[in-house]
């Protein structure tokens, strides 16, 4: 989708406004769905960039994850009168560590994408397989976790 510079700027401001409102609503009402709408809007803004997208995408993704996690922590702590600093610190440190690992994995994938041949049916098929496999692994892990817990 080709958008000229001024149009892209306006869309970016619009996306940022949608994200801000959605985030505020999500934290006020305790709705993770609204927070995810904000993440989607901010992800959409990234696509308006014309340069260094592959380079910045892993960092941008990790940043979105951290923003989402902080918003969700705020929602989780509604109704909690007292919380120890140790608990808050442990959660935030864990999220930072996993975000860093995720960014590294994403960076490795970016290198692979940069080296990949141009788009073809075969490349698309490979991508489709990878997408389904990634979500399938998560679903299998979840089934194993919650099936064992019953």
């Amino acid at each position: 989708m080709l958008v000229d510079a001024s149009g892209a700027s306006q869309l970016a401001w619009l996306g940022a406004a949608v994200a801000l409102v959605s985030l505020a609503v999500g934290m006020a009402l305790g709705s993770p769905a609204a927070v995810h709408v904000a993440v989607a809007a901010l992800g959409g803004i990234f696509l308006l960039r014309h340069d260094t997208r592959l380079l910045l995408a892993p960092v941008y993704g990790a940043g979105l994850l951290l923003m989402e996690d902080l918003a969700i922590q705020t929602i989780d702590l509604r109704g909690v009168g007292v919380v120890t600093l140790e608990a808050l610190g442990a959660r935030t440190a864990s999220a930072l560590a996993i975000a860093a690992i995720g960014a590294c994995a994403s960076a490795a994938a970016a290198l692979a994408v940069a080296a990949a041949p141009r788009r073809s049916v075969g490349v698309t098929a490979l991508g489709a397989l990878a997408a389904v496999a990634a979500v399938a692994v998560i679903a299998w892990l979840a089934r194993r976790r919650y099936g064992a817990s019953e």
Partner: protein, 425 residues
């Protein structure tokens, strides 16, 4: 405890899935690269999370206290599971029990570690209360998996009505032939001087009034009033109450009943209790501290029970309403059945006083002009009801939420002294 995948995690996975499909459809691999940290996060959370095995104990430092005092509840947690979890603990409790800190408490509980949380528990009202169990929500460190459940047992707490010292009580018209603190009208052995009369055979020499004898020339003896006890029946109206966020007329009525029971039993009266409302409970008259504890326990169980059933004096066993008893009816005078009951007791010749627990302190006028007029009409109607009871010779002490009961009872005693001829009629 049941394990749940958090709605946040499902949202993350859906977002990542949509980004992957979007990347495929648009040919923009950046979407997939942005989605990767989200998928890694979800996967890591599912792999690393270990189910906690939590054990909880709840303890109170005291199980009996007065209204307004506080107890300390200690919640001890132990994590026997494999991994550290973030635990939110909310202590369940019965109504009218305030907790500090308000809301749940959040802590980090590592595997094999114990932790303690303390809450200050303050009953806002007398009664039988309980704390526990605790609602626990445990999350892994990434917040991907949640375990929820109720753990621990229930610990009972009894709050007794606030003590109100009464200097003055309603003086009974009749006494019983048991030793007590009321000056009886009859004559006999006692301290209070009654009269002087001529000496009869059998009178004790030490009772001779020498001065009167010298004046009259014939032996005269002193007569005295003995000190007797009386029977007191506390009639608690539980048909209906007026209530606001700070409390209700039943709370005030129970406090009044407890104070009256304590004071009457302390002056060696026999006290009975009748809980007269949707349900009917009674305690037969008895003396002493044991009766006080029985009455307080019965009062703690008082509650408003809605019922259309008509009740009158005949539903109360005769042994609970001894003849000559002073009946103290503690009532907000909201239900026609309690008014009818009071009038019926008076017609049967009982010595009756009404302690009106004013509902006006608990109800504010409505917002519209009509409702404000209705409120004024209500106040006037209540004054008319009071006047009607007084015309029957029933003293009415009006007691407001923040007032002392003593001055209200003093007013009743003044009324009873002036209304005495009507009582005997």
């Amino acid at each position: 405890m049941s394990a749940l995948i958090s709605s946040r995690t499902r949202g993350l996975i859906a977002l990542a899935g949509a980004a992957l499909i979007g990347a495929l459809a648009s040919g923009r691999p950046e979407l997939a690269l942005i989605a990767m940290p989200l998928l890694v996060f979800a996967g890591a959370g599912l792999v690393l999370a270990r189910e906690p095995h939590l054990a909880v104990e709840i303890e109170l430092d005291r199980t009996r206290l007065l209204e307004g005092e506080h107890a300390v509840a200690t919640v001890r947690l132990r994590n026997d599971g494999g991994g550290a979890v973030l635990v939110e603990v909310a202590l369940l409790r019965t109504r009218n029990l305030a907790l500090e800190p308000v809301g749940a408490a959040g802590i980090l509980l590592r595997a094999g570690v114990r932790s303690e949380l303390t809450f200050a528990v303050r009953p806002q009202r007398w009664g039988a209360h309980a704390v526990g169990p605790v609602v626990v929500c445990a999350r892994d460190l990434l917040g991907v998996t949640t375990w929820e459940g109720r753990l621990g047992g229930r610990v009972d707490l009894r709050a007794f009505p606030r003590e109100q010292r009464l200097r003055e009580l309603v003086a009974p018209l009749r006494t019983q032939p048991f030793l007590g603190t009321h000056v009886a009208r009859v004559r006999g052995e006692g301290i209070e001087f009654a009269d002087v009369r001529p000496f009869h055979a059998g009178d004790r020499v030490r009772h001779i009034n020498w001065r009167a004898t010298a004046r009259r020339g014939v032996p005269q003896v002193n007569e005295r009033h003995p000190e007797h006890s009386s029977d007191v029946v506390l009639l608690l109206d539980t048909f209906e109450e007026a209530r606001d966020s700070a409390g209700g007329t039943l709370d005030d009525a129970v406090r009044a009943a407890a104070a009256l029971a304590r004071a009457c039993l302390a002056r060696r009266d026999r006290v009975a209790l009748v809980d007269f409302g949707g349900t009917l409970h009674w305690l037969e008259p008895a003396f002493g501290t044991t009766q006080l504890y029985r009455i307080i326990d019965a009062l703690l169980a008082s509650d408003i029970a809605f019922s259309y059933a008509w009740r009158n004096v005949e539903t109360i066993p005769l042994r609970v309403l001894p003849p000559g008893a002073l009946v103290l009816a503690i009532s907000p005078l909201l239900d026609g059945r309690s008014l009818a009951m009071v009038a019926d007791l008076r017609r049967r010749g009982f010595d009756l006083t009404v302690i009106e627990v004013s509902p006006l302190d608990h109800v504010s006028p409505g917002e519209s002009d009509d409702d404000a007029a209705a409120y004024r009409l209500w106040r006037l109607q209540r004054e008319a009801i009071r006047a009607r009871l007084q015309s029957l010779g029933i003293g009415v002490a009006v007691w407001g939420r923040d007032g002392d009961l003593g001055p209200a009872l003093e007013g009743v005693n003044i009324f009873r002294r002036s209304a005495r001829p009507a009582v005997h009629a």
